[in-house]
Symmetry: C2
Subunit: 288 residues, 2 copies
């Protein structure tokens, strides 16, 4: 099976599980919120984060049901962050992957609440017995996820992103912002697999470090693509990134270095971690 076949297959399994986990509609008036949640979480996406969870879990022989439930929770958090980041008060993006963004389709109030509900759903899933029979594991999942999202994680990173539009940010400050905004969710996606597998602290950290470097490389290749495509045409606000600070060539070099760094953390897992290595190469090559 090629890497892309593998990615697509896992992505289908995760989507099926996400559909199962989204709340059911008990009264007609409840439909809008659930529709907004489904629209944003089930719309097309590469499902890189759940892939990280699924493959990491497989390194420790975790059951497929546990892995898929936790991977779905991670993707719900990603969907929440996209909905809130796209809001007019934030990045003000009318489109996401060629489709109207959540607040354009359902209105701002429903979008804010759908984000809140998806975030909450992720914690509900992580703390549920069906995700793992051991309550220590479930608490660990909740803790790690909360830390990755909160003030020192995604939410803190998004706040810095908003502030970076109005004040000077150094190369290091932009890097820190990206680590928080993108790196932390990548890292916890991998960590989640290790927690489910009751892995040693060492292996858990290896996966975390792999994913952190991968996330940063992902952000840089994203910024390169934004920089080379003509976003002003789409009416999108162009944000200054480190690509503007250090140039495209240096950014490409940096991404390359981060990817080899990421891969170097995987040697303890031998060939079992090949899908993670392939993912790393995929992230690097998608901007060519």
């Amino acid at each position: 099976m090629t890497f892309h076949q593998n990615l697509n297959q896992i992505s289908s399994l995760v989507e099926k599980k996400m559909k199962e986990l989204l709340p059911s509609v008990s009264s007609e008036k409840d439909r809008k919120l659930v529709d907004a949640m489904s629209y944003s979480s089930l719309s097309s996406g590469k499902r890189l984060r759940p892939f990280l969870t699924f493959i990491s879990a497989s390194l420790f022989g975790v059951s497929q049901e546990s892995a898929l439930r936790a991977a779905s929770a991670i993707e719900f958090v990603h969907a929440y962050s996209i909905i809130h980041d796209d809001l007019p008060a934030m990045d003000d993006d009318d489109e996401r992957r060629g489709q109207p963004s959540c607040h354009i389709k359902f209105g701002e109030a429903a979008a804010i609440l759908a984000g809140d509900a998806l975030l909450t759903l992720a914690f509900e899933i992580m703390s549920d017995k069906d995700t793992h029979p051991d309550s220590n594991v479930r608490c660990d999942l909740v803790s790690a996820l909360a830390k990755a999202i909160g003030c020192h994680g995604m939410v803190g990173g998004q706040m810095l992103d908003v502030l970076s539009e109005e004040s000077e940010f150094s190369v290091n400050e932009i890097m820190r912002m990206q680590r928080m905004k993108t790196g932390e969710l990548f890292a916890v996606a991998c960590e989640t697999g290790a927690i489910l597998g009751k892995s040693s602290k060492n292996l858990r950290n290896s996966l975390r470090n792999y994913a952190h470097s991968l996330g940063l490389a992902f952000q840089i290749t994203d910024d390169i693509m934004d920089n080379t495509s003509d976003n002003q045409e789409n009416g999108k606000i162009y944000k200054k990134t480190n690509v503007d600070n250090i140039g495209i060539e240096n950014s490409q070099e940096q991404a390359k270095m981060l990817i080899s760094q990421a891969i170097s953390h995987l040697h303890v897992f031998e060939e079992k971690a090949d899908p993670l290595r392939e993912l790393a190469r995929f992230v690097l090559e998608r901007n060519r």
Copy 2:
């Protein structure tokens, strides 16, 4: 000690704990988010929900540290919901308890993110070993809280509240909306005390039922106060409530009935539950 002295004393203890639990600022650029979180959660409030948690926990001999941490998490969730409910896309309230609301003071982006971070912080606290040594208890806390917030709880209720401005809602539908929007957080505030105390299912349900009726009565007395004060003057959107549907007198009767219903659930706890009985009377009498 009178009821008000008791309420004030517990409120001070909770506020002290909340200050401890709010994240620290590691870099100057992180200050805004933490300031917005602190502003909205530490600003004056009656702290009724943490009082419910604290007193419920005391019925089962829970340690003060556990009770205060969990009570703080409940109040952080309340603060999150206030911030998001006040946003321009929702109720568009510029003021909260006589002070500028979070988005007026810090801007909309910071307000949305401060809400997200407070919501996340609550789950982080509930899953933390310092809140309770038993991981089963911690998972239960997270689960119950997530259910009270999600689609079938506060967030679902707020969505219905937004929809009620544009479509017809029956008396029963408004009641259901208020049960979700207000009742669920009251209920989980009490349940949290019972979970910390590893109470029987019966006692946990008694407290849940008490708090649910209390929450509904609280909402009705709030609506009566809104109905009798002149809110249009404050430029606040006046929302139709059941006070408009059934009249002030009937609403007062309903609140009274709910309060005796609430108190009736407490008989198993004998005089130990007196603070909860006094709170119920306080909720009823504040509109006179």
